[in-house]
Amino acid sequence: MNKTLVAAAVTLAAASLSSQAMARDSIYIVGSSTVFPFSTAVAETFGRNTDFATPKVESTGSGGGLKLFCAGVGVDHPDITNASRRMKASEFELCQEAGVEDITEVKIGYDGIAIANSREGERLDLSLRDIWLALAKDVPNEAGELVPNPYQTWNEVNPDLPEITIEVLGPPPTSGTRDAFVELAMEGGCKTYDFIKAMKQEDKSRYKAVCHGIREDGAYVEAGENDNLIVQKLVANPDALGIFGFSFLDQNADQVQGSKVDGVEPTFESIADGDYPVSRSLFFYVKNAHVGTIPGIAEFVAEFTGEQAWGPEGYLVDKGLIPLPEAMRAEVASAAQSFAPMSRP
């Protein structure tokens, strides 16, 4: 038994030594699960078309990715992190403190969030206010006081909508899709009420609670992080609506249809033009200190920001990415490929 213990200890020690001494020859990417499908597609193409090793892409979520990214400089730390939102000022400071000083920010495109139902059902035409009223925890009554959400069917929210029970399948609070949905759709609908909008100046935390609070009486069902599962549940229940990323709508267009939001259907064009209101920008961040040390980073960034990848006819579009407008692509690509460090957000 002593021998096995010693052997185990030696293995551990050897492992810890080897990892510190070991140089890394492949790029190490972490971050958002929303950007994961795009990042992996680029990584695979990059590995196939160049002599560099295929990068390792880890799906940690935007926040988790930035935390790992900002932990320090060196082969043990990631070179690139993906994010489905901009880096926060607090995260930038965290990076600075750990010696990660020069960071290149690359905006890669947009992602729309679809509110969809089965093709069997009727296509809904929702406004942001309808969405908020149907899903908020507290809604204003006629007297303008906030009361627990009384609405049970869509036509109670808005008489133009059909008489079907409100049942929305969406992601849980841990999901980036949920954050974006709450910020863009819920808050967007909430601030159409002037008295709530005024609350923002007076009592910010109350404003946030009112606008971001999702009802918990069963009308909103947390269906897990798996968007495929939501699509399957929608097919089984034509009266239910689901909230998920645009790429899943695009891939399952034969089974589900996206509801119009403020009269705009979620399509490739409407999201790219910025007409569809529930869309967000996607980013990745590069650690400039690693460029030139870890082989292939510059080439990887060039691959990602090349027209064959992120252009309107590129392979990322097939994966569901909505590209930036042409002028912006050129601007971002030249800034990215020269590794211009970002300023404090």
């Binding site: 551990l12 080897s18 940690t60």
Partner: protein, 435 residues
């Protein structure tokens, strides 16, 4: 008379009561048996449903669609100087050759947009496969060969009937134009489904038709091998010490309670521990079989210790006494007599622990195993992922063709689990001794 009635009545009543209750008691037993059988039937029904669902969704993934096209392999394009060197042949533009073959077969397609749709019928991995084919058989250069090209996943889905052709075009991912091409190729006998070898030889990919489980299987293999190597000796050693040598006092009681507790700790806790200790303090590299094995060792240790102690307990004391009686030392008694008799039970416990480790996902999420790793790992410190995590990642991919691949990967995982549990049962049957 009046005195007699009470005297004989109790006697009569007992037998009557027994006779009367007999029917009720038998009915009770029958009811209980039926309930038991119903419980088993219900359990089997759920297992059957699970298997039927997985097999129903997944069996199609073992086949893959290929398109046969006459491909012109001109010497001028591939090896202009006729050098025959593999390096020159490998660098030729096979994508261009395949596109030319598509254009030649569908000469009516001329618009830029339409050509793009046409090129998309063939997988992005097809050029590489063609290159490998030409490298393996250089005699093909200079000929026009009928080559089976790997089809794109959308085409695969149409051919397999997963995308309904009868739906109106606007509701379908594959447009009428492409559908027309597929139907023409089908009528010419140029589309076939073949056994999907790629699924077993490739690492993962973002393209469903190129995605395989080889990387995840290799990762699982390295992880489990190292887990067994670490946890079996430590577990058996701990069990022998605790069962045979340790004094029975408050400390060993405490240790025993803790081991039993550890066996019931949710596995995610071990993942968090691994993240903090192995990665945080010892600096073991993330997403490697090494760190995964260390975490899974912690997780399976209690299972192995508990089953090993049970196996040691089942060896009758007479064996130990006999060995000690003829002059063997304690150590000799243990290693020459008790351990060989307890080993089948210990191995069974170890195999069950390994099966548990094979199916484990939660602790691995914390140590960076949810990663996209294309290259098949070749050692304990290469980045790797394992089979259940691969299933998790595929289940989350938007492409329709990943649905069947997810189920197929589950089938492979289940096959391994059944094999391991079967091995445990057989081992017990073959070597177990009863006293």
């Amino acid at each position: 008379m009046t005195d007699q009635t009470p005297a004989s009545a109790p006697h009569k009543r007992t037998i009557d009561a027994v006779n009367a209750s007999l029917k009720r008691r038998r009915a009770k037993e029958r009811r209980f048996r039926r309930l038991g059988a119903a419980a088993v039937a219900l359990g089997l029904l759920f297992v059957a449903l699970l298997f039927a669902d997985i097999v129903g969704k997944g069996h199609t993934a073992f086949q893959q669609t290929y398109i046969k096209l006459p491909v012109v392999l001109e010497r001028a394009q591939i090896d202009p100087e006729g050098s025959g060197s593999a390096e020159v042949i490998a660098r030729a533009n096979y994508l261009g050759i395949i596109r030319a073959a598509l254009r030649a077969h569908f000469p009516e397609v001329t618009a830029r947009r339409d050509k793009r749709a046409l090129y998309q019928m063939v997988s992005v991995g097809a050029p590489q496969l063609l290159r490998d084919r030409v490298l393996a058989d250089p005699a093909l250069i200079g000929t026009t060969a009928e080559v089976w090209l790997l089809a794109d996943d959308d085409i695969d889905m149409v051919v397999k009937g997963q995308i309904d052709r009868t739906l109106p075009e606007s509701k379908r991912r594959v447009k009428d134009q492409t559908l027309g091409w597929i139907e023409r190729l089908e009528s010419e006998g140029r589309i076939t489904k073949r056994f999907n070898t790629i699924f077993f030889t490739n690492g993962t990919s973002r393209e469903p038709e190129l995605a395989g489980i080889a990387g995840a299987l290799a990762g699982s293999f390295y992880t489990l091998a190292l887990t067994l190597l670490l946890s079996f000796p430590i577990g058996v050693g701990a069990a022998i010490y605790l069962e045979e040598f340790a004094p029975k006092n408050r400390w060993t009681d405490l240790i025993e309670v803790n081991i039993n507790n550890l066996a019931a700790v949710p596995s995610i806790v071990f993942g968090l521990l691994g993240l903090a200790v192995f990665i945080g303090i010892f600096g073991v590299p993330r997403s490697t079989p090494l760190v995964a094995a260390l975490v899974l060792t912690l997780m399976t240790l209690p299972t192995i210790i508990i089953s090993s102690r049970a196996a040691l307990k089942s060896v009758p004391p007479s064996i130990r006494e006999a060995a000690l009686g003829v002059g063997a030392s304690s150590l000799q008694t243990q290693f020459h007599h008790v351990l060989p008799l307890a080993l089948p039970g210990m191995l069974t416990g170890a195999i069950i622990g390994m099966a548990q480790a094979l199916g484990e996902t939660a602790p691995l999420l914390m140590i960076g195993m949810i990663a996209f790793i294309v290259d098949v790992p070749a050692g304990f410190t290469d980045p790797a992922t394992v089979l259940p995590v691969q299933i998790f990642l595929w289940a989350d991919s938007p492409e329709r063709a990943f649905v069947e691949r997810t189920s197929a990967a589950i089938m492979v995982l289940l096959a391994f689990l059944i094999l391991m549990n079967l091995a445990a049962v057989l081992l017990r049957r073959r070597f177990e001794r009863r006293w």
